[in-house]
């Protein structure tokens, strides 16, 4: 956006032009005036205006004609109609043609100022919306056809915003994980996605995840359900013609997501992991009953009731123990865990 917005005021009464120019210049706009439609369109063609204020009734090319021409050549320019002969049909027609507002004469300097401020505010909102967001261009490519029309040609859209979207550190985080080293070798063949028993339920398939990791779309990847859907069956890994360890990449992504609560809102798996970790850190071994109860009490209490009969049958067959099994040297294990924690993980 320019520092100063420029406005063209068009009215066949010189006094009207002058007073508008005075009011708007005081408000910090660059203002030019024109005394008739022809002059207005000439100036408009040469200049670079953001807003045109135009009187409806003028001899020769009238306000409606000016509005039509402006909108045809530069639809993004806002046109405010002013008139001393305000009628409903003309207002409706002006709005239909795309006028931003419609102001009846006479108006006070405050009223004019207020209307123009509103137009400016709407404009800045629109400009902000239309501006490519970080990663927006790339994300379009990755959206599923069901959500957004798929435009394969956009893969080749070159936009300086792509560079801005790159979070190179994200790629490095993944590459520095055992198994994540070869992510750059991906040739997007999709063998992983075709092999995955769950890819059809993922926000982004494994192939897409690989591309997104490389593009640096950190938030999109880490907040997707894909990483939590992976059941760790390693079929993608053994089939990848480039020997990319996709399952390991999924683990790296889970670890990264675990460190930021923003990404964990919907998924239940992080909760299960957290309880599991607590139990193993406490006893050295898993205690299945405690894990099951803790997890379902928090995540889905109704499931406890639903599976209670199954639980009872397992219990009767001694397949559930009320008490945890503990390792003897738990202090050794905890010292090791604390040291690993102090080392700050793998990244």
């Amino acid at each position: 956006m320019k520092d100063k917005m420029s406005i063209l005021v068009v009215d066949d009464e010189p006094i009207m032009c002058d007073s508008c120019k005075k009011i708007l210049t005081e408000k910090g706009f660059t203002v030019e005036t024109a005394l008739n439609g022809e002059e207005a369109l000439k100036k408009f063609k040469k200049g670079d205006f953001d807003i045109v204020i135009v009187d409806l009734k003028m001899p020769g090319v009238d306000g409606m004609e000016v509005l039509r021409s402006v909108k045809k050549s530069k639809p993004e320019v806002d046109v405010v109609m002013i008139t001393g002969y305000g009628t409903i049909p003309s207002a409706v027609e002006a709005m239909k043609l795309g006028a931003a507002d419609y102001v009846p004469k006479p108006f006070t300097p405050e009223e004019l100022g207020q209307i123009i401020s509103q137009v400016v505010e709407e404009r800045s909102k629109l400009v902000a919306e239309k501006a490519p967001k970080k990663g927006a261009i790339l994300l379009d490519v990755f959206k599923k056809p069901s959500k957004v029309a798929y435009h394969p040609e956009r893969v080749w859209v070159k936009d300086i915003k792509i560079e801005e979207a790159l979070d190179e550190n994200f790629l490095n985080e993944v590459r520095s994980t055992p198994g994540g080293e070869r992510v750059m070798d991906c040739m997007q063949c999709g063998t992983c996605s075709g092999s995955c028993p769950i890819s059809y339920r993922m926000d982004y398939t494994p192939r897409e995840i690989n591309a997104m990791v490389r593009a640096g779309l950190r938030d999109e990847v880490l907040s997707s359900n894909s990483i939590w859907m992976c059941s760790s069956c390693y079929l993608c890994t053994v089939r990848c013609p480039r020997q990319i360890k996709i399952t390991d990449i999924m683990y790296a992504l889970k670890n990264l997501a675990m460190k930021d609560k923003r990404f964990l809102k919907k998924a239940k798996s992080p909760l299960l992991s957290k309880y599991f970790v607590d139990i193993v850190n406490r006893y050295g071994r898993n205690h299945e009953l405690e894990l099951t109860l803790k997890f379902f009490l928090r995540a889905n209490p109704r499931a406890i009731l639903k599976h209670s009969l199954m639980g009872l049958r397992l219990f009767l067959r001694k397949r559930f123990s009320l008490f945890p099994k503990r390792i003897k040297n738990i202090n050794q294990l905890r010292t090791m865990i604390r040291k690993a924690e102090a080392l700050g993980g793998l990244r």
């Binding site: 028993p197 339920r201 859907m229 992991s273 970790v277 898993n286 299945e288 397949r319 865990i337 040291k339």
Partner: protein, 287 residues
């Protein structure tokens, strides 16, 4: 033959019958399984999702403890097998990981030099003992019994000892017992066990596909090589059937239990009746 034995958490309680039958069968085959002193949880997929370095370190502690003995490490659970083997492999391959794990181990007064050889129990039986020996020990051939040899994923992938797409070791073992392996194209498909708590519907769908294939090919029993696959297919079988309108009634046994039947080990020792799906006539004939 002597092995260090790493049972894993599931075999302590929920799949104790797997451990019981494995010990009984091994003894009969002349294998001594010596339980690893004070072993800890391998971390499985769940800890690995939370924090990789700690999870790898958990496995490394077990490997460090096992390294004190000059024996291979025998692991009956596919998930433990993959966790331990992956850790051992990555310690070799990745210097940075090795360095950090060593620091964590040192803090706890431990050291791992990278010498432990990790084997799944099925690998021990088929490759180390050999099918000929097993065949010679069979006292009661399971003639005509139609068996679905289910491998699941983590025994063959990513670092397994058999073909990751079309493994045959369990099929061949089944044949050695005199039984008949069914046509089972999705024998290495994932059972969805790791999703059953967090996304039941999705896990059930995966189990349904497996059970449909098994029942469609007239299997009389499914055998598993992983306690988690066993739990998924046995404990949830009725619910999966109910959800999709099928009346599945296929007993699920740990592969060592089936071996035990052929070796004429008393069924009580094998914990053969601890499954939730009741045994059928085809199986009770051997009890």
């Amino acid at each position: 033959m002597k092995y260090t034995y790493y049972p894993g958490c599931s075999l302590e309680v929920s799949s104790k019958s797997y451990s019981d039958s494995a010990l009984a069968v091994s003894e009969l085959l002349g294998i001594e399984l010596v339980e690893l002193e004070d072993w800890n949880c391998c971390g499985a997929t769940v800890y690995l999702s939370y924090e990789e370095l700690i999870s790898f370190s958990l496995c490394a502690r077990n490997l460090a403890l096992a390294e004190k003995y000059d024996r291979d490490l025998a692991v009956p659970c596919s998930s433990c097998y993959t966790s331990l083997k992956k850790t051992a492999t990555y310690i070799q391959e990745n210097a940075e990981l090795r360095d950090k794990i060593n620091q964590a181990l040192q803090a706890a007064g431990l050291e791992y030099k990278g010498k432990v050889n990790i084997k799944h129990l099925l690998e021990v039986y088929v490759n180390d003992i050999g099918l000929d020996v097993i065949k010679s020990k069979v006292k009661r051939e399971l003639k005509g019994l139609k068996v679905a040899p289910y491998y699941g994923c983590q025994i063959v992938r990513p670092l397994g000892f058999d073909d990751p797409e079309n493994p045959t070791s369990l099929d061949r073992l089944t044949e050695a017992l005199g039984a008949t392996p069914i046509y089972f194209p999705n024998k290495t498909s994932c059972c969805g066990s790791s999703l059953v708590a967090t996304n039941e519907e999705l896990a059930f769908r995966m189990q349904k596909d497996l059970l449909l294939c098994v029942s469609g090919n007239d299997a009389e029993v499914i055998i598993t090589v992983c306690p988690l696959c066993h739990m998924a297919l046995d404990a949830y079988q009725k619910k999966v059937g109910k959800m999709y309108g099928f009346n599945f009634k296929i007993p699920v046994l740990h592969f060592t239990q089936l071996m035990g039947l052929a070796l004429e080990i008393p069924s009580r020792k094998l914990g053969i009746k601890t499954g939730l799906v009741p045994l059928n006539k085809a199986l009770t004939a051997y009890i």
